[in-house]
């Protein structure tokens, strides 16, 4: 009975995480072999109406207030654009000149450089869409909470689920193998040798680099 439950966890947990494991496998290989063709992206620039007359200015504000107002300005731009990206660093977003608020947003798969022309009520947006390879790489362990997108935030839950499922699948896989008499000896040799080599390699790298 216990064996059947464990087997079901192993099978259905694995099937539930099927796509995540494939993406993780591809991205792991890509991290190890970062070929040039996997880094390209496509960049497009356009200008669109964007009315944001009430963006705050730094005059007369102390550093702390200005930091808060800068965040608010960025949020207004993000709301107006309908994007769930976020500023790359806390320092992103500043007045380029008296009329132009410049900011930079990123998220998995996309990057934005934005000039908001307040007087004209327009924004010039340069968007870079990452390549499929980069997107897969960025999804590797992605664990961000996107306040503007509930759907995108659920990827963090899937990441947690898959981490737990894989650890459970590894343990349950070993447990299930121990119940197969015919393959016990060869399996034990493989497991012992591989464990010794893996742990030794990790230890040597950690202790002596």
């Amino acid at each position: 009975m216990l064996r059947k439950i464990i087997l079901n966890i192993h099978i259905y947990g694995g099937l539930l995480c099927f796509s995540y494991l494939i993406l993780l496998g591809i991205s792991t290989l890509n991290f190890n072999h970062p070929f040039a063709f996997t880094t390209a992206g496509t960049t497009t620039t356009w200008t669109q109406p964007l009315k944001l007359p009430d963006l705050a200015r730094p005059e007369g504000k102390n550093a702390q207030d200005w930091s808060r107002l800068r965040t608010q300005n960025n949020q207004k731009v993000l709301h107006a654009l309908g994007s769930f990206a976020f500023p790359n660093t806390a320092g992103d977003g500043n007045w380029k000149d008296s009329d132009t608020w410049h900011t930079h947003f990123v998220r998995v798969g996309k990057e934005y450089d934005i000039d908001v022309h307040v007087d004209q009520g327009t924004a010039t947006i340069t968007a870079t869409r990452r390549s499929l390879w980069t997107l897969i790489r960025e999804l590797h362990g992605e664990h961000e909470t996107f306040p503007e997108s509930f759907f995108a935030s659920t990827w963090a839950w899937y990441t947690d689920l898959c981490a737990c499922v894989v650890v459970a699948a590894g343990i349950s896989g070993v447990y299930l193998w121990t119940h197969r008499r015919r393959e016990r000896r060869i399996g034990l040799i493989l497991l012992a040798v591989a464990t010794a080599v893996s742990l030794a390699l990790m230890l040597v790298i950690a202790l002596h680099g």
Partner: protein, 193 residues
């Protein structure tokens, strides 16, 4: 065919299980860093005299300094260099050493930060790519094995399930949910604002 795939699934699993466990446990720690990582100890500092002289590129000088000091690990340069200094990091799982080299004063300043067990695991997770260091290359080979197995396991596992399941409904539902969700997520990240 079934037996062959079952054996591949089983034996490759037994070979790579420790590495996979390490990757997923350390990955979980990485994304929930505040739960696991305590405040790091204060870095230790050290000063040495630069022995390497003559015109060299930053990479050559960094390699010479690493050799002079016997620092284990891989060299990493920051995106921006400070004025009048060559700065680089020599990192290996377990410790990160910041090296500031002043060729004008023939002086090397070292600041070593130990990272503890969790930090070591996280750094082990991040080791990737081949270079001329055999130890790291061997590790990168295991990383390749782990990456390949992450593709191999779900595919071979799906085949084994398909061949043995009496009732395939729940499996199909799990598989459909997984593929639809990941596919939609990729499209969303690629095309949404």
């Amino acid at each position: 065919m079934y037996n062959l795939i079952r054996k591949i699934h089983l034996y490759s699993g037994l070979i790579i299980v420790i590495f996979l466990m390490m990757y997923f446990v350390s990955g979980f720690m990485m994304v929930h860093r505040p739960w696991f990582v305590a405040a790091p100890p204060a870095p230790t500092t050290q000063t040495a005299t630069l022995q390497s002289t003559g015109a060299q590129t930053n990479e050559q000088l960094a390699a010479a300094v690493q050799k002079q000091l016997g620092l284990p690990g891989r060299i990493q340069f920051p995106q921006k260099q400070p004025d009048n200094l060559l700065r680089f990091w020599v990192n290996h799982p377990g410790a990160m050493t910041r090296v500031d080299v002043s060729t004008r004063e023939n002086r090397i300043d070292l600041s070593t930060q130990r990272v503890g067990l969790v930090g070591t695991l996280i750094m082990l997770h991040k080791v990737a790519g081949y270079d001329s260091q055999p130890l790291f290359d061997a590790y990168a080979f295991f990383c390749d094995l782990a990456g390949t197995s992450m593709i191999l396991f779900p595919i071979s596992g799906m085949y084994l399930w398909w061949k043995t399941a009496r009732n395939r409904l729940w499996g199909i539902l799990c598989l459909f949910a997984s593929c639809t969700y990941a596919g939609e997520m990729m499209l969303y990240f690629a095309y949404a604002r």
